[in-house]
C-alpha cells in the first residue's frame, strides 16, 4: 500500500506539465475553441511526447504504460484544460491491444500511437443515455466483412476523427467494430460542446466495418471504465487548479477594506471545497488502482469513484464561481472555463446519479477499499 509516484512517473508528470505551461496557453486554447474545439497540431504534440500511445504496447509503437501513468498524464492535461481528447487514445489503445484481432491491431495501433490517426469510442445514442450496449446500431455480415447501420451521438471530435470504435448488435450480442470515417456510408455532423471541445454525431448506412471483438459488452465496459478513470484524473487536475485560482483570488480581492479570504463564512466554504478536493483525489487514485481488477470489482469501484468525483466537481465548480463573484460568470476570465469543464466531465461516462444507481445495484454486504 503506497501512494507515492515513482521517479519515472514524476518525470512524465513534469514533461506533460511543461508542455501545458509552455505550449498550451489560454490564448492558444481560445483560438482552438474558436476554430471548432479540436487542434490537430496540439494533438500531434501530445503524440510527440508519447502520450497517444500510453496504452499501446511497445511492440506496436507505444510505451505500454499502465493506469498510474495514465492518471498522471490526465491530471496534468486537466490542470491546463486541454481540449484534445487524450482519454479516447487511452481507451482505443487498451481496446485495440487487449481485444482486437491481429488485423485490427496492425491497421490502427501504430497510427494511434504516432498521432497519425485519431480514434474515438462512439457508444452513446440519443435514447441510451449512459447505458452501455449496442443501442439500435446493427451489424450484418457482408461479402467482404461487416456492414453497420445505425447512429451514435455526442462522440468526441466526431467529424475530425479518423476512425470510430462502435458497439453494434451482432447475433443477439453486443460486438465492437472499427469504422473508418472516410468509408462509404459514414457521415458525421460536428459541433462544439459546452466546455469548448468538439463532438458530434455519427450516422452509419451500410458502412463497412472491421470486427474488433464479438465480446463487445465486456470490452465496452472495460473501455468506459478506462474513460471513467481518465475523467476522474482529469477532474483532479481541473479541481486542483480551480481551488488554487479561487484561493488566490480570495486573498487578492478586497471588500469592506479587507481581503475576502478573512471572512469566516467564506473560509468555511473553502474548507468544504478542500474536503471535496481531497475526496476526489482519493477516489481518483482508487479508480486508477482498481482498473486492472476483475470486472465485477472494477465496475463497482469505478462507479463509486465517478459518483464521488462527480459530486466534488459539481460542488467545487459551483462554489468557485460563487466565491469569485461577478468575475466568475464572465467568459473573459478563466474561471468560467474551469467550471464548464467540470460540468462536462461530470456528464461524461455517466453522471453522478447514474453512478449512484450503479453503486446501489452492485452493493454487497461488506464494503470498503479492499472489499
Amino acid at each position: 500500500m503506497n501512494f507515492d509516484f515513482s521517479d519515472d512517473q514524476e518525470q512524465l508528470r513534469d514533461a506533460v506539465r511543461k508542455w501545458v505551461e509552455k505550449a498550451y496557453t489560454f490564448e492558444r486554447r481560445r483560438a482552438a475553441v474558436d476554430a471548432g474545439g479540436f487542434d490537430r497540431a496540439a494533438y500531434g504534440e501530445l503524440a510527440d511526447i508519447g502520450l497517444c500511445g500510453l496504452y499501446v504496447p511497445e511492440a506496436d509503437g507505444g510505451t505500454g504504460f499502465g493506469p498510474v501513468e495514465g492518471m498522471v498524464v490526465m491530471e496534468e492535461l486537466g490542470r491546463g484544460l486541454v481540449l484534445e481528447p487524450l482519454a479516447q487514445a487511452l481507451i482505443a489503445g487498451a481496446l485495440l491491444s487487449g481485444y482486437g484481432s491481429e488485423a485490427a491491431r496492425t491497421s490502427w495501433l501504430s497510427q494511434l500511437a504516432s498521432g497519425e490517426s485519431v480514434l474515438v469510442l462512439a457508444y452513446q445514442e440519443a435514447q441510451t443515455r449512459y447505458r452501455l450496449g449496442a443501442g439500435s446500431t446493427v451489424a450484418q455480415a457482408s461479402a467482404d466483412g461487416w456492414r453497420l447501420n445505425g447512429g451514435k451521438c455526442v462522440l468526441p471530435v466526431a467529424d475530425r476523427a479518423d476512425a470510430f470504435i462502435v458497439p453494434a448488435q451482432l447475433e443477439g450480442q453486443t460486438a465492437l467494430f472499427v469504422v473508418a470515417r472516410d468509408a462509404s456510408g459514414v457521415s458525421t455532423q460536428g459541433y462544439g460542446t459546452q466546455d469548448g471541445s468538439r463532438a458530434g454525431s455519427l450516422v452509419l448506412r451500410d458502412a463497412p466495418a472491421t470486427l474488433l471483438t464479438r465480446d463487445g459488452q465486456t470490452a465496452l465496459e472495460h473501455g468506459v471504465d478506462i474513460g471513467i478513470a481518465a475523467a476522474c484524473a482529469e477532474a483532479v487536475g481541473v479541481l486542483d487548479k480551480t481551488v488554487a485560482l479561487t484561493a488566490e483570488y480570495m486573498n487578492t480581492r478586497k471588500q469592506f477594506g479587507v481581503s475576502i479570504a478573512s471572512f469566516q463564512a467564506l473560509r468555511h466554504r473553502m474548507a468544504d471545497v478542500k474536503m471535496q478536493l481531497e475526496l476526489a483525489r482519493s477516489m481518483s487514485y482508487y479508480a486508477t488502482l482498481k482498473l486492472n481488477e476483475p470486472a465485477a470489482q472494477r465496475r463497482r469501484a469505478l462507479a463509486q469513484a465517478k459518483y464521488q468525483v462527480g459530486q466534488s466537481m459539481r460542488f467545487i465548480g459551483q462554489q468557485a464561481v460563487q466565491l469569485h463573484g461577478g468575475i466568475g460568470v464572465t467568459d473573459e476570465y478563466i474561471m468560467s472555463h474551469y467550471f464548464k469543464k467540470l460540468t462536462q466531465l461530470e456528464m461524461s461516462f455517466g453522471d453522478s446519479l447514474h453512478h449512484l444507481g450503479e453503486v446501489s445495484q452492485r452493493m454487497q454486504d461488506t464494503a470498503g477499499v479492499f472489499a
Partner: protein, 391 residues
C-alpha cells in the same frame, strides 16, 4: 503506487485476527455489534486482556514496553479489533496521556505511571474542557497554586468522558495569568481519590451517563505529578494533537456499522426500496473515500515523502459519517425506533414491545450528535482546514 498490503502486513493482520477471535469475550462483542450498553467491567475486561498480550499499548514504541508497530500495523490492528466487535479502547490512558508522559515526563514518572496504563489496571480520564472553555480551551480557569511540595487545585472540569469510573485524571490547569492565555497552563496528573475531588455524572439526551462534571476543591497534588515544566502544558497538549492520528476518522468502525445498517435495512424491509438503498449507497461511497484518505495518510507516514496535512478533514468526515449511519439505522426502523425502552439497552432484554434490534437505534442517533462537537468542533476543524488553503 499500489493498493495492497505487503505479505508481511497481511500475515500480521491474520495473526491479530486469530488472536482477537480467540480472546475477545463473545458477550462483549455481542453488545458492541448490537450497540448495547457496555459496563465499566466490560471495558476493563477487554483492556486487561489486551494488556496481558502487550497490545493495550499498541501505539507505543518498544523502549516503553509497546510493540513498536508501524503506522500500517497500528491501522490493521485497530481494524481487526473494530471489525470483530471489540469495544473501542478508552483512549485517555494509552493513547492520550501516555505519549505525553513518554515525551515530557521524568524517568520516575514514566516508571510510576506507564505500567498501569499498559496493563489496563488504572482507568484514566481527561480533564480539559470547562464550563466556560469549550472550543476556546486556552481560556480555562481551573487554578493550581504551588505551595511547597504541592499544588492546590481549585476549579471545575466538565464533559469528562466516563469520569465516573476514573482513578486518575490528567488536567490542564492555570498556573499563571501572565501573558497570553496559552502560556500560563500546566499539565498535571491528579489522583481522583484525593480529598476534594468530586464527580457528578451528567445525564445525556439518550439517557446515558457518559460524561461528568469534576470539581476540585482545594485538592492537594504532589508537585512531582506535574509533567514537564510549569506553564508549558499547552505545548504538551498540542504535541498530543499534532501527531497524525488516522484513528480519529474511525473508518474501521464505520465499515462494521455499514454492514449492520444493511442488516437492519433488510430486517426493516427497506433494503430494496430504491430511495432508501441509494442513501446507503451514498454512505458506502463516503466510507470508501474516507478509507482511501486514511490510507493516503498512512502511506505518507510510511514513506516520509509528501506529508499530508489532512487530519482536520479526517475528523470532519469521520464524524459526519458516524452521524449519518446512526441516522439511517433509526430511519430504517421507522416508527419502531420511537418506543423508549431503557432496559432494552442492556444485553439479554426479553421484552416484546419492539424487536430488540430497534430499541438502541434512536438513542444511538441522539448520542452520536456529540461527534461533531467533541475533539475540536467541526467548525473549529474547518478553521484549521481553511488555514491550509487560504493561509
Amino acid at each position: 503506487m499500489n493498493l495492497s498490503f505487503t505479505p508481511e502486513e497481511q500475515q500480521f493482520r491474520e495473526q491479530v485476527r486469530v488472536w482477537v477471535r480467540d480472546n475477545l469475550p463473545t458477550d462483549i462483542s455481542h453488545k458492541v455489534h448490537h450497540a448495547l450498553h457496555l459496563s465499566r467491567d466490560d471495558h476493563q475486561r477487554w483492556a486487561k486482556i489486551l494488556g496481558q498480550r502487550g497490545w493495550l499499548a499498541w501505539g507505543w514504541p518498544q523502549e516503553f514496553g509497546g510493540p513498536g508497530w508501524s503506522a500500517v500495523q497500528k491501522h490493521l490492528f485497530e481494524e481487526e479489533c473494530a471489525l470483530a466487535g471489540a469495544p473501542r479502547v478508552i483512549p485517555f490512558g494509552p493513547v492520550m496521556v501516555a505519549p505525553v508522559i513518554m515525551s515530557f515526563g521524568t524517568a520516575a514518572q514514566q516508571q510510576r505511571f506507564l505500567p498501569g496504563i499498559a496493563s489496563g489496571e488504572v482507568w484514566w480520564s481527561q480533564g480539559y474542557s470547562e464550563p466556560g472553555s469549550g472550543s476556546d480551551l486556552a481560556s480555562l480557569k481551573t487554578r493550581a497554586e504551588r505551595q511547597g511540595d504541592h499544588y492546590i487545585v481549585n476549579g471545575q472540569k466538565t464533559w469528562t468522558t466516563l469520569g465516573q469510573y476514573g482513578e486518575w485524571i490528567f488536567c490542564l490547569v492555570r498556573t499563571s495569568s501572565e501573558g497570553k492565555p496559552q502560556t500560563g497552563i500546566s499539565f498535571l496528573l491528579i489522583d481522583m481519590k484525593s480529598p476534594g475531588v468530586s464527580v457528578r455524572p451528567i445525564k445525556l439526551l439518550d439517557g446515558s451517563f457518559e460524561v461528568n462534571e469534576v470539581w476540585f476543591d482545594n485538592v492537594k497534588v504532589p508537585a512531582d505529578q506535574l509533567i514537564g515544566e510549569e506553564n508549558k502544558g499547552w505545548t504538551y497538549a498540542k504535541h498530543l494533537l499534532s501527531h497524525e492520528r488516522t484513528n480519529i476518522a474511525d473508518v474501521n468502525r464505520a465499515k462494521r456499522e455499514l454492514e449492520r445498517l444493511k442488516r437492519i435495512a433488510r430486517d426493516a424491509g427497506v433494503y430494496d426500496d430504491a430511495r432508501f438503498r441509494d442513501e446507503i449507497a451514498k454512505l458506502e461511497v463516503d466510507i470508501v473515500a474516507l478509507e482511501m484518505m486514511v490510507l493516503r495518510v498512512l502511506s505518507a507516514e510510511k514513506s516520509g515523502k509528501n506529508p499530508l496535512d489532512i487530519a482536520g478533514l479526517l475528523k470532519i468526515r469521520g464524524s459526519e459519517i458516524q452521524q449519518r449511519y446512526s441516522e439511517l439505522m433509526m430511519l430504517a426502523a421507522g416508527p419502531q425506533s420511537l418506543p423508549l425502552i431503557p432496559e432494552a439497552m442492556e444485553a439479554g432484554w426479553q421484552g416484546d414491545q419492539v424487536p430488540a434490534w430497534c430499541a438502541p437505534l434512536a438513542p444511538t442517533y441522539f448520542n452520536m450528535r456529540k461527534t461533531t462537537i467533541y475533539g475540536g468542533s467541526n467548525e473549529v476543524q474547518r478553521n484549521i482546514v481553511a488555514q491550509t488553503v487560504l493561509g
